[in-house]
Symmetry: C2
Subunit: 354 residues, 2 copies
């Protein structure tokens, strides 16, 4: 049941947005490159639904392949690169891709008010907040394992679903209907059920401190996600690559802090890229693209869609792992997947009346 | 997790209806005896909701105490009475209680078209069908254990929920809204999740024959329940105690057949009531009252309410068992109970628009 031990996905959510260039390289089938080139400017209302579907599918597929890459890398043996330098590399790669996309846009459309890199203090001052929140959360992660084992932590991480829903409601002031709330609770229950194994009951013995830390981490993670959406959506006409660039710059800065705190000696002695293999490079590339997809979902959909997308990715990973690694699916997995499917159905039919 | 091994409840559903006398003995608080005395005749439309709530609560409490009695009897040690004679006794007791209630009604209201015991062939011809279906189902139960173990059978029994919903729709032609269908699937998933334990995955290795038998048993049980509702509701003004009387007479007859098939030698050698203890008597009384409550629910509510009621009873039993027998609740139980709770909520808000 290794698929449960998928790496913390929120790391990639650090910062916001999608890199256009990355998608230009291989545009999703059925979407003309021209219509995608206009994402940076004002989005075409008619294609909003199509766009939303594409970025959601991209996020789902990237997230599930991400988990598979992690299982693969573990199978391949050692896993001895520094996680903090890998996170920094992901941020740097996303930053580079954003700049490349911007370069292309400047060339085609010229520099405008919306796509110029220059920013006001008023605009940029909020950008470090999500990255800082994720840094705190990732540091807490090292301490929570004093109270909870790894499978228990996977279970508790599903609290993110609830915290995201609650903060989405409070901070973004968007309404979910009663049915959608019920669906959201079911999503959390279904995901947790799908991850149940024989040792899951240990989580019920989690000491109070561990539980508090898990709740704080869920709130930090949910707050960072919702806050990123708020930042990105605050200026709808602003080019997403510029928004990304600034988010990623602060992502790099905060991950540099993490390297200093946790891995300074190792990096000094062994070098920055020590232990990187082909698969490490694939994982960094995948994480960068996933981060980009997360940003796209934040811009063109919302955090609720993101949570559904990553939940479905978790289930997809398990099914694909059956074929790739010969994993067995449990009865709990079938039950949980069915509950998640019903949740998605209820979410879609339960749209609030306006 | 013994609460999972609760005895097959459908046995009590053999026949239909509630015995008024039994309720007169201890009327539920807040309901005047007079308004209850009129149940046998035409029901008061205004008190329909109240009545529905009371019979549903009675069924829930009786069913959960039933499972607790079974655990208690197992704890007490031997369990060596004949199950077929116990079933026969339950039917006989229900029959006697129906007659006693009728006697009282005849004395108060006189004999009318609706409460006379005399019946036409046209009315009575359908009454043996539910009892016959349950007999077949109970006999099949002895053979299914060649393919499935007891915990696996408990899991597969949740198919009853789905079969009841489908047959309710097909036979009674009553509509459930989309949301109510989703809720019904969730009820099945939630109940199964709540019953998960470390050996539950064995059920995935159930051979094809075992699975087919489980599905057939679920269909028989669902069909018997829905058919009983159809019989009882076909003549709304007919006194429920008369309907019960005829149902229970055939219940007695078919259980007599079961005694001949399975326990004839034992009964001949050891006697009919061999092995009966105080707790056996309590269980028979409880089963009779539960059967009565099931009939009440069929008359004043429906099979859907019955399924919800017995599902909640299963959860209640587990919680009460924590206090009575020191059982531990699993994480799966919490997840399943939450899904069941959301299902009840969705069922209530998802009423079809008329």
């Amino acid at each position: 049941m290794e698929y449960r031990k998928i790496k913390d996905q929120e790391k990639d959510g650090n910062v916001g947005e999608d890199d256009l260039e990355g998608l230009h390289g291989k545009p999703p089938s059925g979407v003309p490159v021209n219509s995608m080139a206009s994402f940076g400017g004002s989005s075409i209302v008619g294609s909003k639904w199509k766009l939303k579907s594409i970025v959601t599918m991209a996020l789902t597929l990237l997230t599930s392949s991400q988990a598979i890459l992690i299982v693969w890398s573990k199978r391949a043996g050692k896993y001895d690169y520094s996680v903090t330098t890998a996170n920094f590399s992901v941020e740097a790669l996303k930053c580079a891709l954003s700049l490349a996309a911007l370069g292309r846009i400047w060339k085609n459309e010229g520099v405008t008010e919306d796509n110029r890199l220059y920013t006001s203090l008023d605009e940029v001052i909020v950008y470090p907040i999500p990255a800082a929140l994720y840094l705190v959360k990732n540091l807490l992660q090292y301490y929570i394992f004093a109270y909870v084992d790894a499978p228990g932590y996977q279970i508790l991480k599903n609290l993110n679903i609830i915290s995201t829903g609650v903060l989405y409601r409070i901070i973004l002031k968007k309404k979910l209907s009663e049915i959608q709330w019920a669906a959201f609770i079911l999503l959390c229950m279904g995901c947790t059920t799908a991850q149940l194994n024989s040792s899951s009951d240990h989580v019920l013995q989690t000491p109070f401190q561990g539980l508090m830390m898990a709740i704080i981490m869920a709130l930090l993670s949910g707050f960072a996600g919702v806050y990123t959406e708020a930042i990105i959506k605050k200026r709808p006409s602003r080019n997403i690559n510029v928004q990304n660039f600034w988010l990623y710059v602060f992502g790099m800065a905060f991950n540099a802090v993490a390297i200093f705190i946790q891995d300074f000696d190792a990096v000094m002695n062994k070098g920055f890229f020590h232990g990187y293999s082909l698969i490490t490079t694939c994982m960094i590339l995948n994480h960068a693209l996933s981060g980009i997809a997360v940003s796209m979902v934040m811009k063109y959909a919302d955090n609720i869609v993101k949570v559904y997308s990553t939940s479905v990715a978790m289930l997809l990973t398990a099914v694909v792992s059956v074929f790739l690694f010969g994993f067995h699916l449990s009865l709990a997995f079938f039950l949980g997947s069915t509950v998640v499917s019903v949740s998605i159905y209820l979410h879609s039919i339960g749209k609030p009346q306006r």
